[in-house]
Every structure is written in C-alpha cells, then in structure tokens.
C-alpha cells in the first residue's frame, strides 16, 4: 500500500515496468497459453504452388482419422458467403479459395480435430489436385500486356491496382529542366517479414446459447478487427468480443485479419467448440503479410554548391495477390510522400503504382509507420549521392539543406505540416559524440593503407501518430484513439485504452501519464487494454501512434477528471472554484499553500462527500482526434569496417541521437530505440524475402530468414535531444519506429562511403558479403 508520501513518478521517470513481474515468472498469457474446456485444434493445408487451379479436394481419408471432426474448404465457406473477406485497403481477399490459389502457402483447407497432433496428421491425408498456372512474380512483367492475370475476379483486367501521386509535377519538372546538377538512383527496398518471435494465432469460442463469438487473437488492433468480423460474418458487433492477450511482438505483422482467424471462428460456429489455431513458423514466414517491396527510381535536382531543389520519384509497389496493406484508406502508398525528409526543397513529385503478383499480400509495416522507411531510405541515400557527386562532405550537405529550427511549423512540398524540429542540433550532437572529424581523419589514413572503413549518416524525419480525422481513416473509421479513466474511492485508478501493447510497456507508460495528470502514485494505477468488451474503441497500436493518439486521450481524460476534482476540492476547501490552482499535484487556494487537497482525498469525497451540484464518482473518457501528426526525428552515424577477404561488413560503432519530444519513460524509450535499430540493421545487412521464378518462397524458416543474434548486433549508443510537439497535450511524439526507419540508410551510406573512392555510388540492401566482395574484386582491392 502506498502512503501520502509515495512518489508520483509521472512524466520523465524510468519507472520499472508493471508488466515484467508476470513475464519474468513465465506467467505471461499469450494466445497459445489459453486452453478452454472442450477446445479443438485447427491445422491448415497450404498450396505448394504460387498459381494454380484447384481441380479436386478429397478429404475422405482425413475425415476417417479418429479425432478429426471437420474439414473446411472454400466451397463450404462460399455457401455461407464467407469465402472472401474485405481487406483494410478496400480490396477483397480469399479466406479459402474456391477453385484457385494465388500464392505459395495460401490456405487451401482446414482440419478441425480433438488434438493438435491429430490435426497435423490429418492435413497430410487431404488430397488436393492442382493444375499449375504460370505465376506472375516480377511486378514489371506483371504490367506487360500479355501477363497472366493474378486477379481475374476483378472487373479491371490488369495487374495494375492503383496509381497514386503527391506533390507538384509541373513545378518539379520545371526545376529539373533548369537544374545545375541532377543525380539519379534506382533503389530496391526488398520484401521483408516482421517475424515476431510469437507467431500469429487465435482461440475462437462461439457460445451458442448467448450467440456470442469470443476470439482471443494475436492482434494489434482488436476493435478494428471486431468491426471487420461483424461486417464479414453478419454477427452483431455486441455479440463479438475480441481479446488481445499478451502479444509476443507485433511490429505491424499482427494488424491484418488473416484467413486463419476467420476459419477458426467459422469452425467454432460449426462445431460448437472453442477452436485453437496457432501458426508454425513456416506458415508465418510464407503466408503472412510482408513489408516493403518497393522498386524506386529517384532523381534529385540541386545547385552546384549542393543546395537541394527538387525531388522526383517513381515507384512500383509489389502488393502481392491481395491489396491487404494496413494503411489509412486515403493513403494506398502510406505516408511515402514524407520523402522530402529533413530538407527544404522547392518542389517534389512522387508517384507510386501498386501491382498484383502471385505472392502473399504485401504492404504491412515492419516496425515502420506506413512506408516511411522506404521514403527515408530514398532521400537519405540521395543526399549522399549528391554529396558524393559534388565532392562534398555528406554532413555539410545535410547542414546546408536542413529545415531550420525557426522554420517550424514547416509545410513540405508534398503537403505535410511538420510540427517541430531542430535537425542541426541533433546532427551536431551525433557528430560530437562519435568524433566525426576524427573518424574522417582515421578513414583517410586507413584508405592510404588500403583498409576499408566507412562513415554513414542518416538524418531522418519520421511522421507518426495517425491521425487527424479529416484525413485519416481505416475502412471509414476515423483514426482517433481513446482512454477511459475511473478513479476509485480510495484513490486508485483503472485506465482503459484503445491501443494494444505488444511489448511497448503501455501498462507502465500510460499509468505514468495518469499519475502525472492526476497526482496519484503510478503504483496505484492499473492500465487495461485489449478486450473489446471493456476497453473504449480505438484503432490499435502500430505506426508509432499510441502515445500521440491514445496517450493524448489519456492526458485529456485525466484533465477532465481534474476539472471535476476541482469542484470537489473547492467544496472540501470551502473555497471558490476559481480561487484554486493545481500545483505540486494538488489543488491549493491561490496564495494559501497551506490550504490544499490532493487527489486521493478528492477521490474519496467524490463518493462520500460531493457537492450537491456535482454527480457522484470520478471518471472520464476521451476520444482524441489529433490536430496533426507528430514528426520525431534523429541523427544517426554509423561506422563500418569491411573485410577485404570476405566482403563482410562489421558495424564498429553506431550512434543514434533521437528526438521524440517529451519523454514519458526514458528507460522504455531507450529500449524502443535499441530494438528499432536492430530491426533497422537486419534488412540493411541480412534479411530479405525472395522468390524463384516458379513462385517458391526461399526463406521459409529461420534457417534462411536471418534474424540477427546478439553476435551480429552491435552495441548501440543512444542519446537524445528534446523538441516537444507543440500540439500534443504533453509534447510527446512517438518513438517505436524511428530507429527502424532511420538506421538502414546510415548503414548503407557507411558501406558506400567505405567504397566511394572506388567510384561506388550505391548498393541495394541487404548488403550481403557477396555483393560487397564482387565490388572489391571488380576494383582489384580484394585480399588475395
């Protein structure tokens, strides 16, 4: 129990996490830990082909296996109108195919059995006959007139999905025509997979008496899922409960509705039993949605002395067989148009064309706020390309072109209003911390000796916190977020939020927000989320939006409580409401600091001794519609050494200076940055998903899809500047994805820098040792 002197520990404290005691004891409750009476298990038959007609499915042998209760195929779902479901991007997606598969490992049929092991046996007994079709694997060829169609179900008989553009084409073209210098670079940002250590899964439980479907699900957005489920199944929304228990990492991969969730729910309706479905790792890697896969062609116009003027970008986006990206509705290419980055440009024009291929759905995030990683990689590589062409130091070129601190709020050429920033300060801090000048000198000395060392900079601007209702919605639902707070009579609190932690520590940070706003000790505040029956409606956690949206809602709800508390305080202090001020976490009579009352006492009075013109109780709810997005930023510097005998790149140092505005919990922010940097390094050096020409996915296990271990991961050095958001209630910006967004170009720039004296201007990620070695060999600098 806390006492009056228990510290509040609100904003800015490295409060140890409230969620840890259960995780450390092995008492976390993840989806696969849930066991309901009479629960059945589902396993899924998947297609070995990327593109094929299904000519026959014979389940008789599986059904004859003792313990098998049902087999569900696309035909079964079709009869109930459930063979297809809407995607978050206004497309539709197969739940189970009726007659055709469109990517390898696509769900073909599901088995329901009494035991997990029996279900696994049964799927080997289902006979499926396929008639293979030519797969469409290359998005450029997909647009050729004679390409096979990935989606003949659509009216438009083309693999082109949509064209999207931002900025001013005419103005941009005009600048390019006059430009003193134009640099051009093609970049490919490969397909990658979030690979949270927990795969996806669910336990669906239909109560036929209540007519209510409860689904425990690995989801980052339980409320949105409930709405989609209601639309798909026709079950009234109050008869659907989605529970997101502890989630073993999300990173964007747990935003979409996967077919398995729907099939398991149908299976529960069909059998009257709870049904558990848990993906194995290969299913997770092969069939769940992917990130990136952008083929980018960028041009940058500048003056001879390195002043950037205009940016022109054309992009082909490989979205796989269904446009199931998890973007806001009006943004099929996400927030890619933030591509002008941290620099003042006179004009920009960005085009993206979405294309269908015979691959699983692309376009979910990989710890990235809606295509910002692709944008940042492009602009940060282009700045370096320009510097290299002009023989200028990449740090100088950045300093020269930065949007200056006094220029905020700054409207970018593609229409974003950056809220606040101080880019030169962050870069200067990073340069000092790593001794940039010293490193350049060392590099020159090493180069003279034939050793390869490179220094890479990334000064990125993030765009997070979607978003304002005038622009941002998903399936028409505006992207507000919410918090409901109840203060109990003894001064403890429960706060329920519309966002969903997957490791970010919301139970701790949101309690700190409440503690700060209400002046109650953080220990006495419980934060709950993830149960649609109890939490207020919210759009969930992804795109670094929790603190900017639900965090703001939490502060505003708490302030509503404080306003009511003011009336009760006036009553208790026998003072006029207007004579009270909130100071040092309590209400005091102005000029009489001795006459004060704290929230604990007020809470008790709210239930026992409230004024006659005030309702009993002390609670509030807020649905926060952010006025703008927030724009965190950072300056990263990476130093690499290259082994001339193997082409291996070793990150020797990596300094990350981040600015995410005001910080709730510095310990947690640091942890977010460490993790983000690691997930930035991985695709820069190791991770990528590739397909052979037959549509076989080549990284179907962790043997081939290379997650970094502690040995590949460098010792990250972090630091910060603080530039508060002017529009956020407590000046915070969001941080979860900054490092994933900012790190890859710092690493790529460092490797290119190490080889720049050889004339190397670009290497696509992942920068594998054989790519580097081929360059070394071509230039005669490989160790022999």
């Amino acid at each position: 129990m806390t006492t009056e002197t228990t510290p509040i520990r609100g904003m800015g404290h490295s409060v140890k996490r409230k969620e840890d005691p259960r995780f450390l004891r092995g008492k976390g409750r993840y989806v696969d830990d849930i066991k309901l009476p009479g629960m059945l298990y589902m396993d899924i038959v998947r297609s070995p082909y990327a593109h094929a007609n299904i000519t026959r499915i014979d389940a008789s042998k599986a059904l004859a296996l003792p313990g098998v209760l049902a087999v569900i195929t696309g035909k079964d779902l079709d009869e109930a109108g459930l063979a297809w479901m809407p995607t978050l991007m206004g497309d539709k997606q197969m739940v189970l195919p009726v007659d055709r598969v469109v990517y390898q490992a696509q769900e073909v049929a599901a088995v329901i059995a009494t035991e997990r092991y029996i279900a696994a046996d049964a799927i080997t007994l289902i006979e499926v006959e396929y008639e293979p079709l030519p797969p469409v694997m290359d998005p450029f060829k997909a647009l050729e007139a004679d390409s096979p169609l990935v989606r003949p179900d659509r009216e438009q008989k083309t693999n082109h999905i949509w064209h999207w553009e931002a900025g001013d084409a005419a103005q941009t073209d005009a600048i390019f025509q006059q430009a003193e210098v134009v640099v051009k670079q093609d970049l490919y940002i490969p397909r990658i997979h979030v690979s949270s250590i927990e795969t996806c899964g669910c336990v669906a439980s239909f109560d036929s008496v209540e007519g209510k479907l409860t689904v425990y699900m690995t989801t980052q957005a339980p409320h949105a899922i409930r709405t989609v489920f209601s639309l798909v199944t026709g079950i009234a929304e109050h008869k659907i409960r989605i529970v997101s228990p502890d989630i073993g990492g999300g990173f964007g991969g747990k935003v979409p509705v996967y077919p398995g969730y729907v099939i398991a729910s149908v299976a529960s309706l069909k059998t009257g039993h709870p049904v558990k479905w848990i993906e194995d790792r290969s299913e997770n890697l092969q069939a769940d949605s992917f990130a990136r896969d952008y083929h980018i062609s960028a041009e940058l116009a500048a003056t001879k002395d390195g002043a950037m003027q205009a940016l022109r970008v054309k992009t082909l986006a490989d979205h796989g067989a269904f446009d199931a990206a998890a973007n806001p509705s009006k943004f099929p290419a996400g927030l890619f148009s933030v591509i002008t980055g941290s620099y003042t440009l006179k004009a920009a024009h960005v085009e993206v064309d979405g294309v269908y291929t015979n691959k699983p759905s692309g376009g979910v995030a990989y710890r990235c706020s809606f295509r910002v990683t692709e944008a940042v990689h492009t602009i940060e590589r282009m700045v370096d390309t320009l510097a290299q062409q002009l023989g200028l130091d990449p740090a100088d070129v950045r300093m020269k072109n930065f949007i200056q601190p006094e220029a905020f709020p700054y409207t970018s050429p593609t229409g974003w209003e950056y809220d606040s920033g101080n880019y030169p300060a962050a870069l200067r801090k990073a340069m000092e911390k790593i001794d940039y000048a010293g490193l350049r000198q060392e590099q020159a000395e090493k180069r003279a000796r034939g050793e390869l060392m490179g220094i890479g900079i990334s000064t990125f601007t993030e765009i997070v916190g979607a978003g304002p209702s005038h622009t941002f919605d998903i399936l028409g639902i505006k992207m507000f977020d919410s918090c409901e707070i109840r203060v109990h009579p003894t001064g403890s609190v429960i706060a329920r939020i519309g966002v969903q932690s997957q490791g970010q520590g919301h139970e701790t940070t949101f309690a700190q927000i409440v503690a700060e706003e209400l002046g109650l000790p953080v220990e006495n505040i419980t934060v709950e989320h993830g149960d649609t029956d109890t939490a207020p409606y919210g759009l969930g956690t992804y795109a670094s939006r929790s603190t900017p949206t639900a965090g703001a809602a939490t502060a505003v709800a708490a302030r509503k409580i404080r306003e009511k508390a003011r009336k009760i305080a006036a009553h208790l202090l026998e003072a006029n409401v207007d004579d009270l001020e909130w100071q040092d976490y309590k209400f005091q009579v102005k000029g009489s600091p001795g006459r004060s009352v704290g929230m604990k006492e007020i809470a008790f009075a709210a239930y026992t001794n409230f004024p006659s013109d005030v309702e009993a109780g002390l609670e509030a709810v807020d649905y926060y519609d952010p006025p703008n997005l927030t724009f965190p930023f950072g300056a990263y510097i990476c130093v690499v050494d290259i082994d001339r005998g193997t082409g291996q790149v070793k990150i020797r140092r990596f300094v990350a200076v981040d600015d995410c505005g005001n910080i709730i919990n510095p310990m947690i922010v640091d942890g977010q940055i460490h993790g983000g940097l690691t997930m930035g390094m991985a695709p820069a050096l190791m991770e990528a998903i590739t397909y052979d020409e037959n549509g076989n996915m080549q990284q179907g296990t962790f043997m081939e899809y290379l997650l970094p271990t502690a040995m590949e991961t460098p010792v990250w050095e972090t630091d910060k500047t603080i530039t508060p958001s002017p529009h956020h209630p407590f000046g915070a910006k969001g941080v979860g994805e900054s490092a994933t967004v900012g790190a890859p170009p710092a690493i790529a720039n460092a490797v290119v820098d190490a080889l720049s004296h050889l004339g190397v201007t670009h290497i696509d990620i992942p920068i594998t040792p054989w790519k580097v070695y081929a360059i070394l060999e071509a230039h005669g600098v490989a160790e022999l």
Partner: protein, 290 residues
C-alpha cells in the same frame, strides 16, 4: 510442426542396438543428439518408424588420448569438445569447429558422431576430420572395423556405414611435435551453416611443412579434401607466396553451387581467403606449441 508417429527404443547396450537395427532394417533411425534429425522429423522429411536412441548405451562418450590417438566416442557432445582443455590445447582445429557448430544450445545436445554420420556437407566436423586424417570406427555384430574419414564420407547424406553398423568412435592421430590445426568458417549469422569453411592441419620438420591436411565445408556434395593444395605445401616454408598458392589450389578443389549463401565464384573466393587465413593460423599455432 509435428512429427509422425514412431516407436522409441532406448537400448542399454550395443548388442541391443544391433538387435533393433536387425529387427527393423528399413525403417529405423539412430538418434544421437537429434539436432538435425528431429527438425527433419518435424517437417516430416524423415519419418522413421523406429527411433533408436544411443544415449543410454555405455562408453559412447570417451574423450581421451589412447595409443597414439585422440579417441572421441560418437556421443561426445559438441559442448564437451568446446570445453575440453585437451581439445583446446592439442587439437585446436577441432575446438574451432565445435565452437561454430550451430549455436551454444544446440551444441549441448549435438554430437560429433551425429555430425559425421549425418554426412551433411554443410556440417563442420567432416572437413576438419579430413584435415586431421581421422579414422572412424564402426561396430556391428560382424565385428569392428576402422575406416579412413575419406572412405567414410561417400556422398551427400551418405556414409560407408552398413545397415547393421553403428559409428562408435573417431580416432584422430595425435599431433606431431611441431604441428598446428585450425578451422575457419564464414557464416551469414551465428547458427548458420557455412557459406564455406576450411579446416587445416600443418606439421613441420624444422621450418618446412612435412605434412598438410586441408578439408573444405559446404562447397561440394560432401566435405572435400584439397589434395593438390596439400601436396603443394609439403616440403615448403609457409611463406606468403606459398600460402597464397595453396589457397588458390584449395579454391580450385571446391565445387560449390550457387544458393542463398552466395554465388559460385564468391564461395570459391571464400575458400581461398579462409584457406590462407587458416594456414597462417595453423602455422602460428605450430610455432607457439613448439
């Protein structure tokens, strides 16, 4: 990922193992550490009806020098090799190899016998054992026979073991007075199979190489002995030039295929680089030991 059904047998002696193999000649598999076999079973790429666990067979984990050879029981765990002062001091190449097999947790179960008998060209011990001129001891009801590691490794996932034979020991000749060994591996990340790896052993007569062994990992259908490179080194001092030429010859002996670990030419280049580095390291160790 769930394996198919099987019957589990835990024999307490070699004769019991032989009986089990005799009774189930076509559908039994020997289980050593299981770190390769069990994943294959989970993917149902291996579906033995009988699994014969060697863990309870006595005397399968010898790790000692005896009669001029290092004797390794087939069930010696990688972790035991990695920690053994004897291995570290006298057989550094084996120590190097054991320390880069998969990851530390896998090494707690993975065995040297399993690593050899699985005959995966990506496994680390076969190449090192080639370099060291190891001999493999197989036992069956018909008796005990010794064969050279070269004869033991037949092809990808194929050894010279007869259906009734069990690999029981590996014998590594004791190092000559002035000799050194090394195993260097390039991997995409810790836990991965080698892009390529090279095991070498050098013995010296004065300043001159009197014996050289070189084995290559994951650059062919099985571990490859770089014979020309070995022959080239004998009678020479390990000068930069000699080392470079031996490395070039070793790269020629490699027969890699392109895959997710890189193109053919890259893998050959890595064999060259690693051979040169391993030769230098082995020579340095020989000097240090002398």
């Amino acid at each position: 990922m769930i394996p198919d059904n099987f019957s589990y047998l835990a024999p307490a002696s070699l004769p019991e193992v032989w009986d089990a193999l005799h009774e189930h000649p076509d559908d039994a598999k020997i289980l050593a550490g299981g770190q390769s076999l069990i994943p294959l079973m989970k993917f149902r790429l291996a579906n033995p009806a009988y699994l014969i666990d060697l863990r309870h067979v006595p005397d399968m984990d010898t790790l000692a020098e005896r009669d001029g050879a290092l004797v390794l029981g087939a069930m010696v765990r990688e972790a035991a090799l990695e920690r053994s002062p004897l291995i570290q001091q006298r057989y550094p190449g084996i120590h190097d190899a054991s320390a880069v097999v998969a990851d530390p947790l896998v090494r707690n179960w993975a065995t040297v016998g399993g690593n050899l008998a699985h005959a995966d060209p990506a496994n680390d011990h076969p190449a090192m054992m080639l370099a060291l001129g190891a001999r493999v001891v197989a036992q069956s009801p018909r008796g005990r026979r010794e064969l050279s590691i070269d004869d033991f490794l037949v092809d990808t996932m194929e050894t010279a073991l007869q259906p009734d034979e069990v690999l029981v020991e590996i014998h590594v000749p004791q190092p000559a007075a002035r000799s050194g060994s090394a195993y260097l591996k390039l991997e995409r990340k810790v836990g991965d199979y080698a892009i390529a790896a090279v095991g070498v052993q050098l013995a010296f007569d004065g300043e001159v190489i009197s014996h050289a062994g070189i084995g290559l990992t994951n650059v062919g259908p099985k571990a490859i002995r770089a014979q020309q490179a070995e022959a080239f080194l004998v009678g020479k001092q390990p000068s930069d030039e000699t080392v470079r030429e031996a490395a070039r010859l070793a790269a020629q002996a490699a027969d890699p295929t392109a895959d997710l670990r890189g193109p053919v030419e890259y893998k050959r280049a890595i064999v060259r680089t690693l051979t040169a580095r391993a030769l230098r390291l082995a020579a340095q160790r020989a000097t240090a030991l002398a």
